[in-house]
C-alpha cells in the first residue's frame, strides 16, 4: 500500500514537472503582456509582472492594431460557416450513398495535404488579376476551399456513425429526404458538427501564410500583425505579447469546450479517442 502511494506521488511529481515545462512559455507570453516597459527590460528578467495592468492592450486598441483580431474573426468565422454547410452536405452524400466510393473521399482529403505555399502562389496571381488581394471575400474563399476537405472528411466520419435505421425510420414515418437531413441527420450529428466547426475555425484563425501573401492593410489578420512587431535588433515586446494573447485566448476557450473531440479532430478522425 505504501509503495503504491509513493509510486503515485512520483508520477504526480513528474507530471507536474512536465506540465510546468510545457506551460512556462505560455505563462511567459501572458506575463510579458501585463508588464510595464521597465519590467520587460529588467535585467535579470522578472519572473512575474509587478501588477496586472492592461496598458499594452490599450495601446493595441488605441492604434487600431486590434482590428486585426476582428479581421481574423470575420474571415475565420464566415469561411467556417460556408465550409460547414457545403462540406456537411457533401459528406452526407459520401457517407450515406457512398458517392464516388473511397476514391472521391481520398481525393478530397488529399487536397488538404498540399503545402499552403504551393497553393497560395497561383492563387495570389489569380487574385492580382481579379483585384481580390487584400479583400475579405478573397481570403474567405481561400480559407473555405482549404478547409472544405477537412470538413468533408471529418463529417463523413461523424455521419457514418449515425445508425441508418434512424433515417430509414423517418423515411417510413413520412419524411422527405430533405426533412430527414434536417430533422434526423443534423440533430444526430450536432456534437460532430460543433467539433468540426470549431476546428475549422481554429485552422483559419491560426493560419499565417495565406494571410501573409493575400493581405496588405485592410484585412490583415492577427498572426500577420504579430510579425509586424518583429525587428532585426529590437522587438516590440509588449505588442508581440499582447497581440499574441489576444489571438490565443479565444483558441484556449474553444479547446476547453472541445476536450472530448480533440483527439478525433486532430487525427483526421483516425483515432476516435
Amino acid at each position: 500500500m505504501k509503495r503504491r502511494t509513493l509510486h503515485m506521488l512520483a508520477r504526480y511529481a513528474m507530471l507536474v514537472a512536465v506540465t510546468v515545462v510545457f506551460l512556462f512559455p505560455v505563462y511567459w507570453l501572458f506575463a510579458i503582456s501585463f508588464k510595464t516597459p521597465e519590467e520587460i527590460f529588467a535585467s535579470p528578467p522578472l519572473w512575474a509582472p509587478g501588477s496586472i495592468q492592461f496598458d499594452n492592450y490599450r495601446v493595441l486598441f488605441k492604434d487600431g492594431d486590434a482590428i486585426t483580431v476582428w479581421n481574423s474573426f470575420v474571415v475565420a468565422g464566415v469561411s467556417t460557416v460556408i465550409a460547414m454547410v457545403l462540406g456537411t452536405l457533401c459528406a452526407y452524400s459520401l457517407a450515406r450513398f457512398r458517392t464516388g466510393g473511397d476514391n472521391l473521399a481520398i481525393w478530397i482529403i488529399s487536397q488538404r495535404m498540399i503545402p499552403p505555399v504551393v497553393i497560395v502562389f497561383p492563387v495570389f496571381l489569380l487574385y492580382v488579376w481579379l483585384g481580390w488581394v487584400d479583400t475579405y471575400h478573397g481570403l474567405i474563399l481561400l480559407y473555405t476551399a482549404f478547409n472544405l476537405p477537412y470538413v468533408v472528411w471529418m463529417m463523413r466520419g461523424y455521419l457514418e456513425d449515425i445508425p441508418i435505421e434512424l433515417e430509414e425510420s423517418a423515411l417510413v414515418d413520412g419524411c422527405t429526404r430533405w426533412e430527414v437531413v434536417r430533422k434526423v441527420v443534423f440533430p444526430m450529428a450536432r456534437s460532430g458538427l460543433f467539433a468540426t466547426a470549431v476546428f475549422t475555425f481554429v485552422f483559419a484563425w491560426n493560419d499565417f501564410i495565406f494571410a501573409l501573401v493575400l493581405t496588405k492593410r485592410e484585412v490583415t489578420t492577427f498572426p500577420v500583425q504579430v510579425t509586424h512587431y518583429f525587428g532585426g535588433q529590437s522587438n516590440f515586446w509588449a505588442k508581440i505579447a499582447a497581440m499574441s494573447v489576444l489571438g490565443t485566448v479565444p483558441i484556449f476557450i474553444a479547446v476547453a469546450m472541445l476536450q472530448r473531440y480533440l483527439v478525433r479532430g486532430i487525427s483526421l478522425g483516425a483515432v476516435k479517442g
Binding site: V18, F22, P45, C90, S93, I106, V117, F121, P122, V263
Partner: protein
C-alpha cells in the same frame, strides 16, 4: 419491368446535388493551382517584366543547378528527422506517465494540449521572447545553472539556430503526439496486459510486446500527419529566423515563398512548387490510404 437505381428514394439526383458545390470549391485549390503552376513553370514569367514566352524545361533544368533549393530541401529534412523522433519519444513517455489512473489526470491533459492549439506564428513569437539574449528567461536559466552570465544569440548564432527552432517545434507538437498516443494506449485491451503481468512479464516487456504493437496504427497515423506538417514547415521558422542567418535555416516552403514574393521569379517558383507537389504526392497518397484503413 426494370427500374433505375434508387429511383423511388430520389437518391440518384439528390446525392449529386449534395456534392457538387463542395467539389467545385475544392477544385479551386485542387485543380487550378496544379494546372496553373504546371503551365507557368514552362514559361518565363517574372513580375518584373512583361515577357511570358515559353521556355520549355528551362526552369526545371535550373532546379538541378540551384544549390540554395537543394540546401533548403536538406534543411527541411534535418528538421524532420530530428523533430519527428523527438516528438514521438517524448510524447510516448508523457503518455505512459498519464496512462495509469491518476486523480485529476484530465486537467493535466487539458493543460498539456495548449501548446499544440496555439497559432504556430504565436508559438514562434513566444519562443522569440523566450530566447532573447538579454531579457529572455532561457539564457537566464542556463546562466543560473552554469553559474556565469550567458548571452547566447539563439536566433542569430549559426550554432544555435537549429536547436532554437527545434526546441520551439518540439515544444509545440509533442503534446499532439502525446494526445494521440494516450488515446491509443487507453484503448489497448487491459486484459492482455493483465495476463502478461500475471505471466510475470516486466513493464518494458509488456510495453514492447503488447502496448507498442497494439498502438502501431495510431502511431503510424500520428507520424504521417506530423511528417507532412514538418515537410511544409514555415511559420515557426519564419517567426524565429525568417530562414536566417543568411539562408541557413531556409526550409523548402520559405525558399519557395522568398523566390515568388521577394524575388518575383514567378515561373521559377512554379517549377519549385511543382517539384514539391511531386515529392509530396507519393507520401500523401500512402498516408491517406493508412488513415482510411484505420477508420
Amino acid at each position: 419491368m426494370s427500374y433505375g437505381p434508387s429511383k423511388a428514394l430520389g437518391d440518384s439526383q439528390f446525392k449529386y446535388w449534395l456534392i457538387w458545390p463542395a467539389v467545385l470549391v475544392i477544385l479551386l485549390i485542387g485543380l487550378f493551382p496544379l494546372v496553373y503552376t504546371l503551365v507557368v513553370s514552362f514559361q518565363n514569367i517574372t513580375l518584373i517584366d512583361e515577357d511570358t514566352s515559353f521556355h520549355g524545361l528551362l526552369n526545371y533544368r535550373l532546379l538541378f543547378a540551384d544549390r540554395r533549393l537543394w540546401e533548403s530541401l536538406m534543411h527541411t529534412v534535418i528538421f524532420l528527422v530530428i523533430a519527428l523522433p523527438a516528438e514521438l519519444i517524448l510524447g510516448m513517455l508523457m503518455a505512459l506517465l498519464c496512462l495509469e489512473r491518476l486523480p485529476g489526470k484530465q486537467l493535466f491533459v487539458a493543460l498539456l494540449v495548449l501548446p499544440t492549439v496555439i497559432s504556430p506564428i504565436v508559438a514562434g513569437a513566444t519562443w522569440r521572447l523566450m530566447f532573447d539574449n538579454r531579457f529572455g528567461p532561457v539564457n537566464q536559466i542556463i546562466g543560473a545553472v552554469a553559474g556565469e552570465p550567458t548571452t547566447i544569440l539563439w536566433t542569430v548564432n549559426p550554432s544555435f539556430v537549429y536547436p532554437a527552432i527545434l526546441i520551439a517545434e518540439i515544444w509545440q507538437w509533442t503534446p499532439f503526439m502525446f494526445l494521440l498516443l494516450l488515446a491509443g494506449l487507453s484503448n489497448v485491451d487491459r486484459s492482455q496486459m493483465e495476463a502478461a503481468e500475471i505471466d510475470g512479464a516486466s513493464y518494458w516487456r509488456i510495453f514492447f510486446k503488447i502496448m507498442l504493437p497494439a498502438i502501431r496504427p495510431v502511431m503510424v497515423i500520428a507520424l504521417l500527419i506530423r511528417a507532412l506538417d514538418l515537410f511544409r514547415l514555415f511559420d515557426v521558422v519564419w517567426a524565429l529566423t525568417q530562414g536566417g542567418p543568411g539562408t541557413r535555416t531556409e526550409t523548402i516552403s520559405i525558399y519557395a515563398y522568398l523566390q515568388g514574393f521577394r524575388q518575383f521569379e514567378t515561373s521559377y517558383t512554379a517549377a519549385v512548387a511543382f517539384l514539391v507537389i511531386v515529392l509530396l504526392s507519393v507520401v500523401v497518397i500512402a498516408a491517406l490510404k493508412r488513415v482510411e484503413l484505420a477508420r
